[in-house]
Subunit: 216 residues, 2 copies
Amino acid sequence: MREEFRGDLLETGRLLVSMGESARSAMHNATLALMNADQARAETVIARDAEIDANYRTIEELVQHLLARQAPVARDLRLVVSALHVAADLERMGDLAAHVAKTALRRHPAMAVPPEAAGIIASMADVADRIAGKITLVLSGQDAVRAAELERDDDAMDALHRHLFELLLSPGWSHGVEAGIDCALLGRFYERYADHAVNAGNHVVFMVTGEPAQPR
Amino acid sequence: MREEFRGDLLETGRLLVSMGESARSAMHNATLALMNADQARAETVIARDAEIDANYRTIEELVQHLLARQAPVARDLRLVVSALHVAADLERMGDLAAHVAKTALRRHPAMAVPPEAAGIIASMADVADRIAGKITLVLSGQDAVRAAELERDDDAMDALHRHLFELLLSPGWSHGVEAGIDCALLGRFYERYADHAVNAGNHVVFMVTGEPAQPR
């Protein structure tokens, strides 16, 4: 029973690592598609989101199966429920990467992001990638991460988000309403991606260390 | 054991009804605050979001407790896991209502929504309220709802969302970038609120009828 539980948990962990890598790669490629008006890359990101969704459903089934057959308690139970939370966050991160890709596609062959905003958006993408990378490392057991570190990354993202809005609302913004709306929504996609990544990271920290995650 | 399970489940259901009513009332009041530049009402919505968050944590604890002590299987287990999904969606709906209230507050004493966009935003708020109302009725056992009905409401919301963007991007839009961005973000908040509401509704339909919900 115990060994079967460990086996199911290991399989869940493997799927989470795979989802984490996919969610990270999705946003990485969505950003490249956005910054280079790369239609093919944007379409690939959107198509591959179905794989992340499928992994999510598999984890949900695995967890329900595990709960039904093994009836874990105490720390094991919290571990299993945390896995469900992490999977839900990673699934949503995939959706947000697809939103970025769709924005690139909607403006193709034009660039969705004017040159003045490209630096901030690229920095937001860097922070998003950094957080997603940490989750994947911790999930695959290659590194430890502290909740405080994730909070710092999240603060960096919030500062960039504010900076972006200052730029969009400054009298010097000469790119009109459509580009302004696109950049505002892109900013929100990256910020939400980071929120979900930090949320997932906190659950992962708990899964690894037993320290409870703070709800966000 | 069985009776204890029913008791815990009933308590979870009561909390879900309360969360559903709070999430519905939050968006109703956020919309009123938005349309009337009503600072006090906006502040109340933001402050009360903490109650919804607290209910969510209580449901999480109740569900973990229930899983640990009762080890439900089959349909009972799916019911419990569904309750967790519904609670997560309702919690997020509360957040989105708070975002609408914050938008009203940021522009106070000015109106965040120019008159031309007020009709569409009000219609989005109506659809959001309609879906949230259906969930609460079904959760409290006062009505039945079919998944197809929720899909129609969601289609209505998507059509309004497209209509809003056509307005914001039309040559006739004379309210500049800031109002354009505010309205675009507001549109996204209502649309996401409805997505979560439909998602929650599908899980509730499953809880009541046993028909599986489609992941969105």
